[in-house]
């Protein structure tokens, strides 16, 4: 156990990098997706809706495989880690699209009316009135998305990214202790998720309405 621990810590670092990078990408995709789904343009709304239903309608593992194994066929050659980040980020972005959209449309309609009757434009209303309230509403549900994302990083073990799950599998071969190896990997996931959860709660409290 002690002998393999440093390797697990290294692997945990890879899992954290995967999580952080794909989370950042997911937030960008989510914001763009939500903007598209709430747009006045039918073409953008259609694009956003298609993104969400395709991604949510297919297994994340298939998406990872398509990008990593299918990519080269159409000229996209990626390292496993890069493919992992892109696929996971693009995947979680679809869920985040719905989270952000949900938060934005659940801000009371009266807020929009009040701002518009004062003479604020659509954009000014969104920026100063709707978004600040929507951000508060979306922190916790985005936390749920991020929780799913962190656990979802285990999928990229299937394309040989040396993260926690892959590392656990690898050391079963030399230790013959699958219970201990998976238990250790699981425990580290839990620590990462627990700490992330604390961060989300902290952020949520910080921006709570007075």
């Amino acid at each position: 156990m002690l002998r393999v621990f440093p390797f697990f810590l290294q692997a945990a670092w890879v899992t954290i990098q995967l999580s952080v990078l794909s989370c950042a990408m997911g937030l960008v995709c989510g914001a763009l997706g939500a903007a598209a789904r709430l747009s006045r343009s039918p073409a953008l709304r259609f694009t956003g809706a298609t993104y969400v239903s395709v991604i949510r309608g297919t297994p994340a593992l298939i998406q990872v495989f398509i990008l990593y194994f299918g990519g080269p066929q159409i000229g996209i050659q990626l390292e496993a880690f890069e493919a992992g980040v892109l696929a996971l980020g693009f995947n979680i972005g679809a869920y985040m699209t719905e989270t952000m959209r949900g938060a934005i449309i659940s801000v009371d309609r009266g807020q929009n009316e009040a701002a518009r009757t004062l003479g604020l434009s659509r954009f000014e209303t969104f920026r100063s009135v709707i978004l600040p309230q929507a951000l508060r509403l979306m922190i916790r549900p985005l936390g749920v998305n991020i929780n799913a994302l962190i656990k979802g990083t285990a999928l990229v073990a299937a394309i040989s990214v040396v993260e926690l799950t892959y590392t656990a599998q690898r050391y079963i071969g030399s230790t013959y202790k699958p219970f201990e190896m998976f238990f250790l990997a699981g425990s580290i996931y839990m620590v990462i998720i627990y700490v992330t959860g604390l961060g989300v709660s902290w952020l949520d409290r910080r921006v709570a309405l007075k």
């Binding site: 009316e113 009040a114 518009r116 004062l118 003479g119 604020l120 434009s121 007075k210």
Partner: protein
């Protein structure tokens, strides 16, 4: 043209599918006039009020604010610019206050003036102080909406609308969501505005207040103005049977 009405509604009509909520309504309001619109729910009175700043666009007809047509037919972009500048002149107060919960009372009041009139922070603060003084809530300037009572929220909402120095104020059942004991403080603020000759159009269920404060009363039912006139006539001696019925039901139990 000094007697041009500040608000001029010409043949306003609106329908949702086959449901006609406004049927050919015309209404002129002179500067300084205070008009109450009463009537049963579903009569179209809120829809008419919300048509004045194009919050609920009409199906046909025109709304004029002084010499500007509010609901001008323009391409989307131009219309947006047009309506945003028109709305700065029309204050609106809602039944549910619609204060911005993430902003302090001060910021609720100064948000729009700062953004739209390019005034400095000091000027904005001065403006907030002035307007809060007017509604008697200066001591609440750094509170948040959730820390205020319903009556106080509505007074802040009035101050927020006044901070844009509107030419007209629209009140959409401003006291309907308030506990009975909080109604009076809002009524007092509205009375004070009346004394300052603010032009006001007030959709209300409070007959007593309409009678006290307004110059004219419109009774609406099923999308038409059934009867209109000075409050004394409408409340004491209505001519129309529907008006009589409505008032009989409504004045019962009111003192």
């Amino acid at each position: 043209m000094s007697d041009r009405p500040i608000i001029d509604i010409r043949h306003a009509a609106k329908s949702y599918g086959s449901l006609e909520v406004l049927k050919d309504i015309s209404l002129q309001v002179q500067t300084g006039q205070i008009v109450a619109i009463i009537g049963p729910s579903g009569s179209g009175k809120s829809t008419l009020l919300r048509a004045i700043n194009d919050l609920d666009p009409l199906s046909s007809g025109e709304v004029w604010l002084d010499d500007i047509q509010v609901n001008k037919a323009l391409p989307t972009r131009q219309y947006e610019t047009h309506i945003n500048s028109v709305r700065q002149n029309i204050g609106m107060v809602f039944q549910h206050f619609n204060l911005f919960p993430h902003l302090s009372v001060r910021d609720n009041i100064t948000l729009a003036p700062k953004m739209l009139k390019g005034i400095s922070k000091a000027e904005a603060d001065q403006l907030a102080v002035e307007q809060l003084n007017k509604v008697g809530l200066l001591d609440r300037i750094d509170y948040y909406p959730s820390q205020l009572s319903g009556g106080q929220k509505q007074r802040v909402a009035i101050a927020r609308a006044l901070a844009m120095k509107p030419k007209v104020m629209l009140f959409d059942e401003a006291t309907s969501a308030l506990d009975p004991e909080l109604v009076e403080e809002v009524n007092l603020v509205m009375k004070q505005l009346a004394e300052e000759h603010m032009t006001m159009i007030i959709v209300t269920h409070e007959m007593g207040f309409a009678q006290d404060v307004c110059d004219r009363v419109l009774f609406m039912d099923q999308g038409v103005v059934v009867e209109e006139g000075p409050p004394d006539v409408i409340f004491r001696n209505p001519a129309n049977e529907r008006t009589k019925n409505f008032l009989r039901k409504h004045l019962k139990g009111q003192h």
